[in-house]
């Protein structure tokens, strides 16, 4: 592990033009990912986590999307957002790979799964058709698909969601990337299959030594797999900390509320402390601190927007409580 992070995101802001006005999906998001690290990004629907993930590979359709001028996504020192054409293509899938939430929709229904793996290999490596096929079968075997040589010729509709997510992982692994971005990889799957996929992700990360960015709304998944966590709310990063710290000493009221509002399978609970209100729509963020209309600790200072304050190398929080320690102890 070297000191320089493999991926650095600086001031990422993404907006979308819609018929109802401009939607600021992601607002000034910054974070680093070290080599070999697992970074968890947690947040609810509409908090901007998927848009952030797609921006890492410049996969936001422009228009209607718009990535601001100040935004930088430095992969190994190169700004991905400034790349075009071949240079961009050589990073996508080869050095930074992605898997998505819905494996059924994410695979092309009219191509065999084998072809979809092999074409990725051939897009990045100078190998023959037969060699790509061989490698694809090995990958299918690696991700735990039984009878891979036979399955190579299967179409997506012939396989279950769990198997297809394995295929997606095989595609992602095909060029041994430095970073794997997994956007809600287990949300569409049953819980026993989710356990299998998480095991697989952990296994390949150990084996290939890649960095993993895991995006999810499920705090349990984060607790199991992430080294470090970023909590997003309403298009912004509200808290960043090591996984243990986030769960033992959540600094932001939103993080705390989120942890308290999920029922636990491992211990009985008689009342859940729910966060009041609902997630604001991206077209209309609240002014000031975006969480303050739902925050139990909000006071007049929260009418103005707090900044993300760093404390130490790996933790940061966007809350006036963290600044105003007198108030916090009250």
């Amino acid at each position: 592990m070297t000191a320089t992070p493999i991926l650095q995101v600086h001031n990422l802001s993404v907006a979308f033009e819609t018929p109802r006005g401009v939607v600021h999906a992601v607002d000034d998001v910054s974070f680093d990912v070290a080599r070999g690290e697992t970074l968890g990004i947690v947040g609810e629907s509409g908090c901007g986590k998927t848009v952030t993930a797609l921006s890492l590979l410049k996969l936001i359709p422009q228009p209607p999307g718009r990535i601001s001028q100040e935004s930088r996504v430095l992969f190994d020192g190169v700004d991905v957002l400034s790349l075009e054409g071949e240079a961009l293509r050589k990073i996508r899938g080869a050095r930074v790979a992605m898997i998505f939430q819905d494996p059924v929709a994410s695979l092309n229904p009219v191509l065999t799964i084998g072809e979809q793996i092999a074409e990725t290999i051939r897009a990045h490596k100078p190998v023959s058709r037969a060699e790509a096929r061989e490698q694809a079968i090995l990958l299918l075997d690696r991700v735990g698909i039984p009878d891979p040589a036979h399955r190579y010729r299967s179409y997506p509709h012939q396989m279950s969601g769990g198997m297809l997510q394995r295929v997606m992982i095989a595609i992602a692994l095909s060029c041994t990337p430095d970073v794997l971005v997994a956007d809600e990889p287990t949300t569409a799957l049953d819980v026993t299959i989710q356990a299998q996929i998480l095991d697989l992700l952990r296994g390949i990360q150990d084996e290939y030594g890649m960095s993993l960015i895991l995006i999810t709304h499920d705090l349990g998944v984060i607790a199991e797999i992430a080294d470090r966590v970023i909590v997003m709310y309403a298009g912004q990063v509200v808290e960043e900390a090591a996984t243990e710290t986030i769960f033992s000493q959540p600094a932001h009221p939103y993080t705390r509320g989120l942890i308290d509002s999920v029922p636990r399978v491992d211990q009985p609970q008689y009342q859940i402390t729910a966060i009041p209100g609902s997630v604001p729509p991206a077209s209309n963020w609240p002014s000031g601190c975006r969480f303050h209309p739902r925050c139990p600790y909000a006071w007049d200072r929260c009418e103005t927007e707090p900044q993300l304050e760093r404390s130490g190398s790996s933790s940061a929080v966007r809350c006036w409580l963290a600044v105003d320690t007198d108030k916090a102890t009250e």
């Binding site: 629907s45 819980v191 308290d260 999920v262 029922p263 636990r264 399978v265 729910a274 609902s278 729509p281």
Partner: protein
């Protein structure tokens, strides 16, 4: 209604769906394959299982939204499958359903207020003058701003829509509500609100719930008793606290251990199941769980003889030959 009697009693319920035309009799999928249970008044029974286990089909059969192939469903002592359509319509007032997809459960062309009022009008539960005030009272009861009665469903957030759906279900003053994944589609921070609302409504109105869910933590929080389903059958039925601390069936154990816990310090004995739930159309001859069972003692008996759902401890049933030697989690 006597309290000792079960409110809902289901006996040997079976339901299968055809895949092809009427000629493919052999190709039918047995979604629910002989299920027996009862729900006591005021109780919450949880129905847990992975997708395709048949849990939603049971909910629909109980409300006769689909007609089961065989078996008996008794509501407050009345066999609802034998009722004529007009008697059934009257009985519908006492049993309601709440779906996962809240926005989709509301007519997109009908304002929220009208949707809540409709069942009251249908069953003539209030005079014309009272309907509006009743509707507003219901909205208040579920924690919705009366202003929202003039909105269309697509103008609501998921949580608000689910509250409106609950208000509509309450409008006929039912005794029994089937909750089919009521919070699965909601944001994490909103799930808790809706669960708390359901719990307080149950206390205030003495409601009986059948909660269908795949999320075990929600079930643990909400239910008095839990039935675990696998391939259209019950593999375990138990009171909630025992089920979650010492499951008898290896599938329940595996299911529990697979749920990620939001506590990085907690290290558990993790059972990761091999493979996937077999397709319901080619059901194995012995124990349906045989192919994936992690139990160290599984043997030929398991592959040949399907275990019966038997009572192993008072109030605890399991369908496993080795229920006496459960896996630890």
């Amino acid at each position: 209604m006597s309290t000792s009697q079960a409110l809902v009693e289901v006996t040997d319920l079976k339901k299968s769906f055809g895949t092809g035309g009427w000629r493919d009799r052999d190709n039918r999928i047995r979604a629910v394959d002989g299920v027996t249970f009862s729900v006591a008044p005021g109780e919450t029974l949880g129905l847990v299982g992975e997708s395709g286990s048949g849990k939603s089909t049971i909910g629909r059969c109980i409300l006769r939204l689909t007609t089961p192939d065989s078996g008996r469903v008794a509501f407050d002592g009345v066999d609802i499958l034998a009722l004529g359509s007009s008697e059934m319509r009257k009985l519908r007032r006492r049993m309601q359903i709440v779906f996962q997809d809240a926005v989709g459960s509301l007519n997109p062309r009908m304002k929220v207020g009208a949707a809540v009022k409709e069942p009251i009008e249908v069953h003539r539960l209030a005079t014309k003058n009272e309907i509006n005030s009743q509707m507003l009272a219901l909205l208040a009861e579920v924690g919705l701003d009366p202003e929202l009665s003039h909105r269309y469903p697509h103008e609501l957030s998921g949580g608000q829509a689910q509250r409106a759906v609950i208000a509509r279900a309450l409008s006929v003053q039912p005794d029994f509500i089937v909750l089919d994944e009521p919070v699965a589609a909601l944001d994490v921070s909103v799930q808790g609100q809706v669960l708390n609302l359901l719990a307080s409504l149950q206390r205030a109105r003495n409601l009986t719930y059948l909660l269908i869910a795949h999320d075990l933590s929600v079930v643990r929080h909400t239910c008095d008793r839990v039935a675990v389903m696998y391939l259209g059958r019950f593999v375990e039925v138990s009171n909630t606290s025992d089920l979650f601390t010492s499951p008898l069936h290896p599938y329940t154990a595996a299911l529990l251990s697979a749920v990620p816990v939001p506590d990085p310090k907690k290290k558990r004995n993790r059972i990761v199941l091999e493979g996937e739930m077999p397709s319901v159309s080619d059901r194995p001859s012995g124990c349906p769980f045989y192919s994936r069972c992690p139990h160290p003692k599984k043997n030929d008996q398991c592959s040949n003889v399907a275990p019966e759902l038997r009572e192993h401890e008072p109030g605890r049933l399991a369908a496993c030959h080795f229920a006496e030697e459960p896996l630890s989690i």
